[in-house]
Chain length 374, copies 4
């Protein structure tokens, strides 16, 4: 039996937006959604033009997300799910509004501005009976899933160290003063909440937790602003201690000159280590204690059966960023249709991200002292 | 002004097909098409089930491509363009049938079975006034385009050598005897025409010609069948001489044990060389005579402006096989809408591929003697 | 005019020793030394057999380093310089004894067991008028020198971060309980002083300081023993703050499963970053803000003139560990003959290493608190 | 019992020579030789100055190699072995002269100028009872030995293809017209015999034969001169057919712009393939049919026992070009002392190299026709 496509709405993502376009491609890739409504911009003209370009009928191009939630909920053919791709400060308010109307939510990361806000949202989700998916897309890459499976299977033995870094260089200068739309809201604390900490360190944090299966007992570190005049953090260092005795380190920077989008994860275990680099997403390196290193490839020899399901192309036909993102959408559709999708990032990941930023700020304000995670 | 989506039909690509699914993703990715009709399989039940899974209305799920062409042409809302994703022997017959109805064609490679067939098709295309696009997808990868631009700009100086190889290992055993659908038709000369020569060597050939801007004066080489009992070539070696004095070599194998889909191109020039590897599609290595090697990245520093247009994500957010394929579809839509798209592969590339196979067979039958290209 | 070879003696390095053999190869490589005397082992039979294998005349194979120092000093053709390749606890006592006889010293790292010991040695060196070289061999690799030159020239702009790591996995189990000679003394605190901290973290520390040109204002971190039952640290994490505001991190582990000898250095500057990996010692990657990454090669295009002097072979003919070590010996010969050799590691590096261990221990004992460097 | 060092003489290798210095380092590295005599240059002053710099006593610095052979043979402490590091045209005459005096020979490659010359030398060697070693140094690299062992053990199954290439760019312009000593004799047919064919293609040829264990039945190809005005070949393409049905290709170029010394070998077998690159000599990649690719490292996990003997340093401590060369010298010493050293390249490799050039010339003169190897 054929299932119908889910009806998708979008808040944010008007002309010139980056992540809105990514969400739309991700939603289209596996053909599980049709985009039928949107509040694409707070500027009416932009919203209309964006909607038209996206083939949305004018009646479903809304001036505000509030009216969109209300009117879509009232339609028989109203949206099943909304994608929230606004700046961070709106994530939670928009999500709560749609949840209140019984509409599922797929939300860009980070969850929002504060831990309290995240907890309030968690309550709403629980009450709503709706699904909430947070697009920590990197955790949906097949070789990240493969890494997780191998850790979980015990192939690495006990974990000694978790080492994650996420390096970008694009905020190396104050591009937020130019007309770079991506940079300008990200550098505004009122809209972004946090800088590198929210934008990329939460990805690194979630990735480390996802693959290692662990959250720490304690955390320390600092938030730094490296570019003079900038109003927000652009680099983050953190250190973690886990209950098992394992150690962790995280480095996230948007001022790492010359780096593009270099998210790397290494896990050292007592029996083997592993290394993953997002910029080569079709490979996972396994370093055993007693055998040569091997390079496991997406859909290649030796890959776990469940991971192969997250692939669209045979080995050697590279998948990348968009396919990882699409995997989130594919699984979100399955979730909304009632399947259990335990690997999908959701509210717990979002709260963990907010908690990470909060704890790191505490530590940073205390000269890098250790703070308990809980 | 918003342009409507093109109405797309598909011939082939029913349940279990590989390349049909790729074409559909490619068509969806940039949202320029809607799939509205299909003759997905010669088996009625499969055709119906496939159409339903793809949300095609039953009336437009056709039992034969002949009836599809006729009836779609008769509809006011009939398809604008058909994607042909059948085994090779049907490419030309199907294409001619749709062209005869004034329907544009996007056809999988290789063009067909013979050079004569290709030339007849060329005539039909010319008569039809329709557009014909051949999905030599690798030539649409941004870093391949970058390579081409740099050759054309003279950055490499004069070309000395063109070195291309395309290595796969998946036909290392007679998987065509198993229920591997991909292998079984590819190993049948009646359906495929040629083996490795058609399936992958034509890609390598087209890539070399696309980037270097050259076709050879003469050619030699051999077609080999390495796996005992196989009915078709599974490995190809060729050598080329160009009018300029440049040399070329091509190696394509589907029995290169352990290789996945390793298409590589190197061009040596008098001032610089370049190297590209499909499995790392976001990078292009430039080796100048008098400076260190540099690694140019997709959408990164130093990339040509026109190439940046073929990217969907910022540098460091890997694009891959599907995005390259989608670029063909994106540009095909522009072509169909009336733009000149000089980089799109079409009938000339298809004929060159057929000619390459024909010349190589001639040479192979003459102990590898040189044969004129023309 | 031809200079005679320097007469070299050796303390330690008898049969089965690793680093002694390395020193001897290093001394031979550029033919500036002849090994003429030794106290190769505290076990007389081993000493004699080792000396014979090395073509040392029996009269100059000494039972103790004390007698060696005394009698070599008394000979007209006595040694010019002694190489100390014993376990760490003997470095300083042996060095002081030879310095007291006016004999130059080339000493393996780390300097010794304690900071006090190091300072006492510094006084002795100053009094002796002799030269003291510490074999931090990695800082003599051509591409490390190239990295230093580029930092010094300002090519990176101001330094933001220094990231160094040194990962080995060979002590992943308690190999010190087997007959592994290398492991057994290294795991004995009385002989080694420190474990990973002394054996490899001092290399990483020196490398970071050498290339960046900076020592920190403050330091924090911890020494860990990861393998149960082990008597010494086998992993080290440290963090550094520099007066300029730059940050640093160091990770050294001998229990990083599957890693061989993976010493890596990255420096992020405001205008460019650089990356070096000891296991690919013929390459240095430069990542500029506004141009593609380039890979500078040893003796290749764009290398600094002074660095080319540290190469023995043309570009593309790999040099490695032994050549780097030999560079220390080559420059030590020049130093002993009276040239200024500012890049050679010596007593200051040794003391810095002892200070690093001491500060790290302090911090480690205080839950990782920041401690002043000075 | 200690064996004495072998007494080594050298012909060629005076001031400014490249390969002479390499041979001397190689001879010193493992301390099996002492250089005691030489005819370093045909120019008396250069010879004397070179000898002095090398600490050779003046009486053993000879004006001609003829006098050196005669007088060293007459001394009780005369040289055991001579290293020939002259331009190619002198290799055979010098070797024959020393062999006639009962002196062993270590000779740089290629063997000489012609196949006939090589065969005559073979007769002399047989008559002399002396040892003759040809420094095809790349075949002594540990990971090349590892590759050979794995082929011989059947790990690859039957060989399908042998693919070797050796790319340099340093003769991209007519540097032979400058004062580049290396280029000037190499570009002179009277001194070099062949250009790229002799200088580097013979290395590639020998490497392929060494690892694969096969010589072809037939051969075709061409010698090219790419740089206008040059008097000698600077690029070579060849193709091979083996009795087993296996195919081979060889590409050697000294005008491959931007390449340094890029010797690569790939062998495709029915069960696995392997890949080796000289510029990363500490690694060997194995690509099995049914498991992920693995990267075997020098002295690392999974290395063959006999190969470990060819290593001087632990895994992760890179060895390179000089160590490979030294391995030839180490094994030559063992050979001279009476051990069987079956892996050492010698006269058979030299003759094969001459034969390769002769056959390739034949083919090249016949438009690339196939010529029988025998």
């Amino acid at each position: 039996m054929t299932t119908r496509r889910l009806r998708l709405g979008m808040v944010g993502g008007g002309e010139g937006a980056f992540i809105g376009a990514v969400h739309r491609i991700a939603a289209r890739l596996d053909d599980q959604y049709q985009l039928v409504a949107g509040a694409f911009s707070s500027r009416a003209e932009v919203a209309a033009r964006s909607g038209a370009a996206l083939h949305i009928e004018p009646a479903r191009c809304y001036a505000t997300w509030q009216s969109m939630a209300e009117r879509e909920a009232a339609r028989e053919d109203g949206i099943d799910v909304v994608a929230i791709v606004t700046p961070n400060h709106l994530h939670v308010p928009v999500a709560r509004t749609f949840l209140a109307q019984g509409i599922h939510v797929i939300c860009d990361k980070p969850l929002g501005l504060t831990l309290d806000e995240g907890r309030a949202l968690a309550d709403d989700i629980a009450r709503s009976g709706c699904r909430f998916v947070l697009t920590h897309n990197y955790s949906a890459l097949p070789m990240v899933r493969e890494a997780r499976t191998r850790v979980a299977n015990g192939e690495l033995g006990e974990i000694r160290s978790v080492e994650v870094e996420y390096l970008q260089g694009w905020l190396n200068e104050r591009v937020e003063l130019t007309d770079n739309k991506q940079a300008s809201w990200r550098a505004d604390p009122a809209l972004a909440g946090a800088g590198a900490a929210g934008d990329i360190a939460t990805h690194a944090w979630q990735l480390a937790a996802f693959v290692s299966g662990m959250l720490p007992e304690a955390l320390r570190g600092e938030l730094l602003t490296r570019v003079a005049g900038r109003q927000i953090d652009d680099e983050v260092f953190a250190e973690m201690r886990y209950a098992s005795g394992a150690r962790g380190r995280l480095w996230a920077s948007q001022v790492a000159t010359g780096y593009e989008n270099d998210l790397r994860l290494r896990i050292v275990g007592t029996r083997a280590s592993l290394a993953f680099r997002q910029q080569q997403p079709n490979e996972l390196t396994i370093l055993p204690h007693d055998a040569p290193a091997s390079v496991v490839t997406r859909n290649g020899q030796g890959i776990s059966a469940e991971v192969a399901l997250a692939c669209r192309t045979p080995a050697g036909h590279p998948e990348g960023y968009l396919e990882g993102f699409a995997q989130i959408y594919r699984e979100a559709a399955q979730l909304i249709r009632g399947e259990a999708m335990p690997l999908l990032p959701g509210i717990a990941d979002g709260i963990a991200g907010m908690q990470f930023i909060a704890r790191l700020r505490q530590s940073s304000e205390q000269e890098g002292a250790w703070v308990a995670w809980a």
